[in-house]
Amino acid sequence: MSEQIQTRSPLGRIWDIAVRYQAIVVPVVALTLAFTIGGVLIALQGVNPLIAYESLFRAALFSGDGLLRTLQKATPLILTGMAVSIALRLGLFNIGAQGQLIFGALASAYFGYSLAGAPTIVILPTAIAAGILAGAMWASIAGLLKAYRGVHEVISTIMLNSIAYGLIEFLISGPLQEPDQVLLRTPAVADNARLGNIGSVPVAFIGAVLLAFLVAWMLNRTTTGFQFNTVGKNKFAALYSGMKISRLTVLAMVFSGGLAGLGGAIETLGIVHRYESGFNVGLGFDGITIALLARANPLATIPAALLVAMLRAGSATLQFDTGIKPEVVDLLLAITLLLVSIPVLANILFRDRAQKQENVTSGWGS
């Protein structure tokens, strides 16, 4: 390492830059590796992996409404990615973005159809706010259980996911079901409660990107963000500094759930236009992958979400073209996640110059 600094060969300098930006380098290398491994697995299914990837990305970016669909898919993913990230900053691992998202989706659908006839200025903000609120409320249960009863959020949010599914299935098979309908779904939201697109870019996508900047600013520049980070990095120092850990814990979960709920609202108002059982699946869980890929950095969730969205958007065409099941995306993401989250990749690449990954989540029973 000292030689490299002394000689300062061009390669050495590039290497120094790589070491410095390893937070970006490692995920990119991981992605490349994952796609290579994925390619081998695709080849084992008897399909040329290059053709498969080409078909996947062409469908996601260059086919008719491919780009629009990719950006539509990316929008809730940015939000759930941020939802997981913001909680992770405080040392909370919110596995429950999925449950919070579907509550948000249902709440915005309810106001979207029950307020039909109201002017846009009333119905749209109400539906969106309802989604945020519903997600935030659902997440706050886990926050309260963590802050005041010491229940680990990983378990509570998983349980709350299952409970959310059960409750919502009950609601859409009875009280909120579309009349004279066998399908488990609510009535459609009013036309003026739907989110449109500007060309190939959904309005909501722009909103999500702006929100990512807002969240990044909040985490890095405000006293609230400082408190979140301090609790996440050293709970004892936070206590010493007079930060109210319990309240911050609930607040972080509320923010997290609100973002996830907003993701659900956007999915409802922008794409599905009602709540329907079976839609929304996996958006919350992809949020975990995105947050870990982005290392809990809200701005990095944008490219990470775009990547996941491309894969998801292109996977249907992939099956049509090659017969490879769309679940190949789950496999690819799983391998990527594995490679970015295991510390070994950075260690192999950078040896003793690898950044040490801190233990970010909170311990057991505390």
Partner: protein, 335 residues
């Protein structure tokens, strides 16, 4: 002999009297309505088997100082490999081996990443779950069948006991093995050298280290071997309980097990009773609903275990004490 027994009872008054009340209550129920009692207790135990196995994975891991949140993924993959292994090889025994082996391999993975590379244990576990979901959903194919069903064995004498006999001692391989494992693990943890050392590395690893115990190696071995139990839990679900496999088949049982583990305060025997309590409550709710005694939608009955988990955790955490070093990576020479 009698004195020892009496001393034991006086030292464990609470558990002794609870057990007596539970047993008397059970047999009173059996006396009133034998069919219902047997079916409900049978349901409770069938429901408990994978939870108990999975919770024991957690016990071994956490007693050694490693949180295993990946049990769900271990179970799911084992159920998957076990099922398709049996279907493709045409041998149920092969499927059982493959299923259990899968649990071990995934245990080894978790052990290596968290203990050797000191990866965040919670993240490692969640990653394991996502990977498991990815693999099993991509390679899943429909319409496969098991070559044979899991045979049932009756344990001589024990299976003739009314109520308890048919419920606990007339089961397939994994059902019977679970009983053996509970007893075995209880003895191993508190009566053997391995148990003493395991508890030491989970409570205060540097003390174990200075006493000449290889903490890293022991944690890796324990978490890996515990994977076999997760493999049993998965294989039980696909090969013994249902003879099928579906995506997302384990339905959060790995997480329920973690709650039951806390409820059972990291003791195998108490964990078994905690799981039975969960199972029996669910059975009771289903029965009451089926009998139209109470009018609650089926969806709500299905949610009962999850709601109970939250309540139990909210009440139990803070009252029970987890192994002190759980979740903390051990770095040699840092003590």
């Amino acid at each position: 002999m009698v004195n020892t027994l009496l001393r034991y009872i006086s030292n464990h008054k609470l558990s002794f009297f609870t057990s007596v009340i539970v047993i008397v209550g059970m047999y009173w129920f059996y006396f009133v309505d034998a069919i219902r009692a047997e079916s409900m207790l049978g349901f409770a135990w069938r429901y408990s088997i994978p939870l108990v196995l999975a919770a024991m994975v957690g016990i071994i891991g956490e007693r050694s100082g490693v949180v295993n949140i990946g049990i769900e993924g271990q179970m799911l993959t084992s159920a998957f490999i076990g099922f398709f292994g049996a279907a493709y090889t045409g041998s149920l025994i092969m499927g059982m081996f493959l299923g259990v082996g899968t649990g071990v391999v995934m245990g080894a993975f978790l052990a290596w990443t968290t203990v050797k590379w000191q990866m965040d244990q919670i993240i490692a576990g969640v990653v394991l779950n996502i990977v498991a979901a990815g693999i099993t959903s991509f390679y899943y194919t429909q319409g496969q069948l098991l070559p044979t069903l899991m045979p049932k064995w009756s344990v001589p004498i024990l299976s003739d006991i009314p109520l308890i006999g048919p419920v606990f001692f007339e089961r397939g391989f994994f059902g019977l093995a679970t009983l053996v494992f509970v007893v075995l693990l209880q003895i191993m943890l508190f009566r053997t050298r391995w148990g003493l050392r395991t508890r030491a590395i989970g409570e205060y690893p540097s003390a174990a280290d200075t006493a000449g115990i290889d903490v890293i190696k022991m944690r890796i071995v324990n978490v890996t071997i515990a994977g076999a139990l997760a493999g049993c839990a998965g294989a039980y679900l696909s090969l013994e309980a249902t003879s099928t496999f579906e995506r997302g088949f384990t339905a959060g049982r790995g997480f329920l097990a973690l709650a039951i583990l806390i409820f059972g305060a990291w003791y195998p025997n108490r964990v078994m009773f905690a799981a039975l309590f969960f199972g029996f409550t669910t059975a009771l709710a289903s029965q009451l609903q089926a009998d139209k005694v109470v009018d609650i939608p089926q969806q709500f009955v299905n949610l009962l275990p999850y709601v109970m988990t939250l309540i139990v955790l909210a009440l139990a955490v803070g009252r029970v004490r987890p192994p002190a070093a759980v979740g903390q990576p051990f770095v040699k020479g840092s003590g």
